[in-house]
């Protein structure tokens, strides 16, 4: 079971991309609807956010279930977030803007929501590059610090989504709530452990 869990999860993570590919090339009756470019753009964007939040779920799940098994999947989920973010950007660059770099540059500078999205993608790049076990070993504590960037990426991503929605912000609100919960949990845990440390220190001075 342990051996096949990872490939299975990997395949499941690819499903949204496969469905989009089927729709784009009209395979097996799958269709992307009247505006296929928008469908590709929005679906990839959504799955980027989904995978960012899923990645952020692993640590709380470890704590709740007292099982470190979850962390085995964290890197894969994080890399899938990067994969869908790259697809999202590629669709924007190559299909929506027809590969016109000056137009894309202009949009990135002029539209605050695109600036945010672009920034989130850029911040994901060092995380993807240092995602190997080797890099993790070599960087030690610096790795942990660097990978806290995912909090910023997720914030920027949700904000990017919120800002581009025309009016119905119910979905961005859902993502924002999910993210608030996941980040809030980390703040709460940090406070708990800080309190622990000060109690421990106090106990030590008391003992001495």
């Amino acid at each position: 079971m342990r051996q096949i869990a990872k490939p299975l999860v990997f395949a499941a993570c690819l499903l949204p991309a496969l469905r989009l590919a089927a729709g784009a090339f009209h395979v097996a009756g799958v269709s992307l609807g009247a505006d296929p470019v928008a469908a590709l753009l929005h679906t990839c964007g959504r799955w980027t956010l989904n995978f960012l939040l899923i990645t952020l779920c692993m640590t709380p799940l470890r704590d709740i279930t007292h099982s470190v098994g979850w962390l085995r999947f964290r890197r894969m989920f994080g890399l899938f977030a990067f994969f869908y973010a790259l697809l999202h950007f590629s669709v924007f660059l190559l299909l929506d803007q027809a590969g016109k770099l000056h137009a894309v540059g202009h949009e990135i500078v002029k539209r605050p929501y695109i600036t945010l999205g672009m920034l989130a993608l850029l911040l994901l790049i060092p995380l993807a590059l240092t995602s190997t076990a080797k890099a993790q070993r070599r960087m030690g504590r610096r790795w942990t610090r660097l990978h806290r960037l995912i909090y910023a990426v997720a914030l920027l991503g949700v904000w990017h989504f919120w800002w581009q929605v025309k009016k119905d912000i119910r979905e961005p609100i859902l993502y924002a709530c999910g993210l608030a919960l996941l980040l809030g949990y980390r703040l709460w845990k940090r406070r708990q452990s800080m309190a622990h440390i000060s109690v421990a220190r106090f106990a030590r001075t008391d003992g001495a």
């Binding site: 609807g33 009247a34 505006d35 296929p36 470019v37 928008a38 299909l95 929506d96």
Partner: protein
């Protein structure tokens, strides 16, 4: 009524409509018989099937107004009837086609009020009876920067409004959509303020390009496209085209309109298609023409959606950046 002498559109009627549609066109009078047929098709069979055929129930009798039809090929019936912004039935483009099928479009009445000599409540049959229907193939430019080409069936809005003899105080016309959260599930959430309201300046409303549409592709309008009667103002963003109209009011002051009310810095009363005035959050300089597929690049957006020759005069001397 003023007729545009030099329409800015090239006319190649044979390009636009498959011949089969002419051959299969059925004769229905615009009176009781036709309306009974209209009523009979409140519910459409799978819209996907009927890309071209205008035969069968719901076929309308109309003439083509080639003067106002562009050379561009219209989008498929499927695209036009499954990709809709109609928040009364949900905010996803596919929601209206799913959720609007239960809307009862008969009996239907329209209340006419305000600064006019003839006011009161009229049945939809009374509203439609005197107007011969014509087909106009119009570009539809959504404020979200996508566009379609739609073969509407309708009649000039001005012809309808004149029947109510608006007084000299009638400077604007206000339109109202049905408010019925039971039938329109989207109205149970407060995405917009309900009922949906729209408005035009009286001279805009009287312009021959502005129409009331009751059909598309030769057939009665599907519910998701605004049945039984909706507004089409082709030189303005699509949201001006209010659907399922139950109220018309002539007013002296500028009416409130749904989107301008929801986000006044993003949507104005005029909402003329204008590539030079961006939406605060996205560019209006270009548009994605639906139906072009994955690799169809963006098309440049034209001032007044390509109808500048006909309508730019309505706004001479106005700062269109301010009155967006």
């Amino acid at each position: 009524m003023r007729r545009a002498r030099n329409p800015s559109v090239t006319i190649v009627p044979s390009d636009i409509t498959p011949e089969a549609r002419y051959l299969s066109r059925r004769t229905l009078l615009a009176g009781g018989l036709g309306l009974a047929a209209l009523q009979a098709v409140g519910r459409f069979s799978r819209p996907a099937m009927a890309d071209t055929a205008a035969a069968g129930p719901g076929a309308l009798t109309f003439t083509r107004n080639a003067a106002f039809s562009p050379a561009e090929a219209p989008n498929s019936y499927r695209d036009i009837t499954t990709y809709n912004n109609y928040y009364e039935f949900g905010t996803d483009k596919s929601d209206p086609a799913e959720n609007a099928q239960g809307l009862r479009i008969r009996p239907w009445s329209v209340t006419v009020g305000g600064e006019a000599e003839v006011t009161g409540s009229f049945t939809i049959e009374d509203i439609l009876k005197p107007h011969p229907l014509e087909e106009r193939v119009y570009r539809l430019r959504c404020v979200e920067a996508w566009s379609m080409v739609v073969p509407w069936i309708g009649f000039p809005l001005g012809d309808l409004l004149k029947r109510f003899k608006p007084t000299s105080k009638a400077k604007f016309v206000e339109f109202k959509t049905l408010y019925d959260p039971k039938q329109m599930p989207g109205q149970r959430s407060s995405v917009l303020e309900w009922p949906y309201m729209e408005g035009l300046r009286i001279d805009e409303a009287m312009h021959p390009l502005a129409i009331m549409a009751v059909g598309l592709y030769g057939k009665a309008l599907p519910n998701q496209n605004g049945a039984p009667m909706r507004l089409i103002v082709p030189w303005k963003y699509g949201f001006k085209g209010i659907k399922a109209i139950v109220g018309i009011k002539f007013t002296e002051r500028m009416p409130r309109t749904a989107w301008a009310e929801a986000a006044p810095n993003e949507y104005g009363f005029y909402a003329n298609v204008n590539p030079a005035v961006d939406h605060p959050r996205w560019s209006q300089a270009s548009e994605r023409r639906l139906g072009g597929g994955l690799f169809d690049s963006r098309h440049p957006t034209l001032p007044f959606n390509g109808y500048a020759a006909e309508v730019a005069g309505l706004y001479s001397g106005m700062d269109l950046r301010r009155y967006f």
